[in-house]
Symmetry: C2
Subunit: 313 residues, 2 copies
Amino acid sequence: MTGRAIAYLSGGVGGAKLALGLSRMLPAEDLCIIANTGDDFDHLGLRICPDIDTLVYTLSGKANLEQGWGRAGETDSFMTAMRELGGPDWFFLGDHDLAMHVERTRRLNAGVRLTDVTDHLATALGVGPRILPMTDEAAPTIIETTEGALAFQDYFVRLRAAPTVTGFILHGGAPVAPTAEVMAALDAPEMVIIGPSNPFISIDPILDLPGIRDRLRVLKQAGTPVVAVSPIVGGDAIKGPTAKMFRELGETPSVGAIAARYRDVVSHLVIDDVDSGDAARIAGSGIRVAVTATVMRSIEDRIALARTILGGA
Amino acid sequence: MTGRAIAYLSGGVGGAKLALGLSRMLPAEDLCIIANTGDDFDHLGLRICPDIDTLVYTLSGKANLEQGWGRAGETDSFMTAMRELGGPDWFFLGDHDLAMHVERTRRLNAGVRLTDVTDHLATALGVGPRILPMTDEAAPTIIETTEGALAFQDYFVRLRAAPTVTGFILHGGAPVAPTAEVMAALDAPEMVIIGPSNPFISIDPILDLPGIRDRLRVLKQAGTPVVAVSPIVGGDAIKGPTAKMFRELGETPSVGAIAARYRDVVSHLVIDDVDSGDAARIAGSGIRVAVTATVMRSIEDRIALARTILGGA
């Protein structure tokens, strides 16, 4: 990375929205996206990487923007036929999307690293910025609930995030290394940005890899802006179970709670206009606060938020 | 099998046409189809069984009858996306059809036998007669050509059957057992029918399994009709490389050549009206000959041929 190098930590839908905005503001070589792989899983013999795919589809202009995941103009012949055959149909796989999983799995099974497979697939679809899986190893997030420990997609898709969460086991409970590419992207960036993704299941899996939190602390202490965008707006999440998880874990979902979670690693927090009342208290805790419109409905919203972040820190 | 039990040996397209005719003439429990698996192969991590699938789609009314293989109303989103990703696109996989391969592979990888997987998939699609893979083991047909030995689908699909054939290695050159179900179907059938399939690459792989030729010889000697339908009509094949293979191996494709190949196992040969001039010579060699319309364009043609076979022997 050269010049205005930005390392951007991202989960899926919300993270991808800002990734798109950042990609419109920066030369491709100056943006490096570090993607959560804690949601990745094997299904029907295929390796599925939901957050990477959402980023690839979003940045290649192929995403279904209304739905947030999957591809625009997707067809469902495979799922229809799968149901006829009595096969598992709880996880939707569109016909175009299937090619991504089949080709990824084929390359992984041939011994190629997920980092290189992702480079190939993203480049094939015309994605400019590099999308780096946080690790090349399996690092499954396990959701601890009052109904027991659940594999992430069992919790998230099959059970529609209904069970009450009591905790998280990241990286399958075993030590997992970030890639050399991820560490290189965090070596001397001009800025680190943490996307408006779920802190528990999208960002913590990245931060809790060995060396990452320490790296961000050192960068912050050296004056490199480490900017988080709050996924909580007006006490709720734009999408997904972030606010529900806060409540189930006994915390009130708020920008203050986000600030508290990220206090050790971030220098700046971007919060929405509706939360401006909390700005002073957060600033008092030592985090610089930017107040702006953070809800990204249009492409213009995405670019405007990216511009604010890049210009303001 | 009970009553009018028929064991029917079949390859893909031509064999499936007659299978459909037979299925309209017989109670489902009286027809047992033994399918060639020599064309089966692994592609993109999926186990693909072309002849079984053609039989399943044909008997379930889902086949693309004009094309001969694949499903009617098929879509190609997967292949379109695969090409975008730079993945292998030489073997067409329709979106609906993919579900068959994915679900088959999933069940096989869980340790289920191909026989039982096929039962499940065929039953799910409403197929009545039992379709038995000739073996549960891998039994790949290798095509020896002047360009070297080729995996079947490399020869047949990727190279469009263009290379000059010099021989065949059946069952990957290793001993492979027919299933107990196949042997049971041939234990005491009322009749054995050999479909109008390619003798080299569709029927020989079945006949050359240990015990099958002997079994047919014994049945024939005991007076059980063993009826083959000639895939050669007027010196050519209706579809596929059968006639080309005869010529490349130094034989003239003719109903006489078919009779010679099957002499040891069949009691009856069904030939087309256009070949009636060859009937006397074949009959002179000890095979009973039925002359009828064998080209199956319509469903009525399929039923008429099935009726002739079942009534005439």
